[in-house]
Assembly symmetry: C2
Homo-oligomer: 309 residues x 2
């Protein structure tokens, strides 16, 4: 049997795991990431987690073929270098070279969102899809496109859908991310509260102490019509961005992950109606579903990046 | 040597050619398309053009491995069927089956814009690019994405860039096509004339008899500031759509074809500045160039679709 190591470099934890060819996690280990530490110390921690996961897996280390790493930030996948990771304070970290030196097996680096998308395609919500689009609705909007089990480079979170619209962190105006991220939903919620400071939405926000991506759903549960309007507006923009990508990439499956996607069918059912109205007529509509692997997607996907090295 | 037949099903002419592995046309033949004729009659015309091109090529027909067809309209590439071509009045035309029956070689169907994109990658403006984006600025906006010499399905002309913006033929509002096609430019020109009916732009349009995609460039040549503003506005939208696709697909080359692209550097030079301002910082900027093969792209590309069958 052939096994692969997956490493997920998260802002909070470094996770490592032994994964089989089908994308099953045999064992995993985790250590706190600890930002702003020397890169070589972090490397020792990653190697420690890798070794623990190998030991726990009871897999003969000769059967472990390669190690795949999923990292955020600016990365050079060809040369296996984390060019810059502002959150962790990394710069020009030749992580693949170091991993190969220490473990004696090939190493490959991928963008963390792309790795998670590959995980969902191989072992999760988009299993078996020849052409899948994974969209993460978190602080930002992440996109991962996987065709024939290969990751397509690129990021559609910074696709402008509203020319001259809401400012985005990237410097553009009107990006998909500026509307469809949790941050976008929070902004829409705050604006609704400003318009109606005595309403249910304002009251819920006050009780919760701050506006979150959940506030508007809690208020809608209490029968607030204004909250329903915010959700509808949010879904219109989300459907617009997703329809763009369905027209452009014709995926068989669109999987939604991240905090907002936890709303499940409450979000997905009206979203499907809006997307179908927006997408190119005559096109076979993809399945629109929730991601199923959670944090494991990144670990599995990182391992799957090196499955066919 | 191995050779391939390319067939380009155009609205005006049906073109066939013998193409070598490198994408060189050895010979070609053309017959008028003639809309609304029985499909089997059209098939005979296509076969006639194919046979003429084979005869003229002096290639031994045994060396001809396969035939690739580029077609507009709704097509089923997997089964080789033109499902619907409104311009030609075709419906459920099992063209690949018929071609194979008649010629005794495998046949494959591709979208015409995708075939042209592949032609530009193999033998034209994007030669050698691992990842290229070809955008046609014609009556509509066509996009073709070619990665590792394989066509990616999908069409980004109907990507909304201006939420709730100009109505598009597809039924959506604010599509890339509604702004960046020749039609989009003509609409912007007409609006500028309405705003200033006594200006140079209005005068040029009157002399030309109608507003075309060229009108605004002719007026700008005469020193019209209003025309310059229209060109600038047009370029802003075009840059917006192109930057979206650079962020999303990270192509090495972006090639522009179609009528408007004939403006060459006059269009490309300011476009590059705007695109670089819009695209994700830190990303390696692609070359932005004009397509070089003209109508031959479709013929070459159709043949190249079957090069590695």
């Amino acid at each position: 049997m052939a096994y692969y190591i997956g490493v997920d470099i998260g802002g909070t934890n470094l996770k490592a795991g032994v994964v089989d060819r089908a994308g099953n996690i045999i064992s995993e280990a985790s250590v706190p990431t600890g930002a702003d530490r020397p890169q070589d110390i972090v490397l020792q921690d990653i190697l420690g987690a890798v070794k623990t996961s190998i030991e726990n897996s009871k897999v003969d280390s000769k059967e472990i073929r390669a190690v795949g790493l999923g990292s955020p930030g600016a990365i050079d996948t060809e040369n296996g270098i984390v060019i810059r990771n502002y959150n962790l304070g990394w710069k020009d970290f030749h992580i693949c070279e170091k991993m190969t030196e220490a473990l004696g097996i090939p190493a490959k680096l991928a963008n963390d969102a792309d790795a998670a998308a590959l995980g969902e395609v191989i072992a999760g919500s988009a299993k078996g899809a020849k052409n899948a689009l994974i969209i993460t609705l978190g602080t930002g909007v992440g996109s991962g496109v996987v065709i024939n089990e290969k990751i397509l480079p690129g990021e559609f979170g910074h696709m402008v859908i509203a020319y001259n619209g809401r400012p985005c962190t990237c410097g553009r105006k009107g990006c998909f991310e500026a509307y469809s991220s949790a941050t976008g939903l929070i902004n829409m919620t705050k604006e609704a509260i400003e318009r109606d400071p005595g309403g249910i939405l304002a009251e819920v926000a006050k009780t919760e102490g701050a506006v979150s991506g959940l506030t508007v759903f809690t208020a809608a549960d209490k029968g607030d019509k204004e909250a329903e309007k915010v959700i509808d507006e949010y879904l219109e923009y989300l459907a617009c961005g997703i329809a763009n990508l369905i027209n452009g990439l014709q995926p068989e499956v669109v999987s939604l992950g991240g905090g907002i996607a936890k709303q499940g069918e409450r979000l997905l059912a009206p979203l499907r109606v809006k997307v179908e109205r927006e997408a190119f007529k005559g096109l076979k509509m993809p399945r629109i579903v929730s991601c199923t692997l959670g944090y494991k997607a990144g670990l599995i996907g990182a391992a799957m990046v090196v499955r066919d090295l």
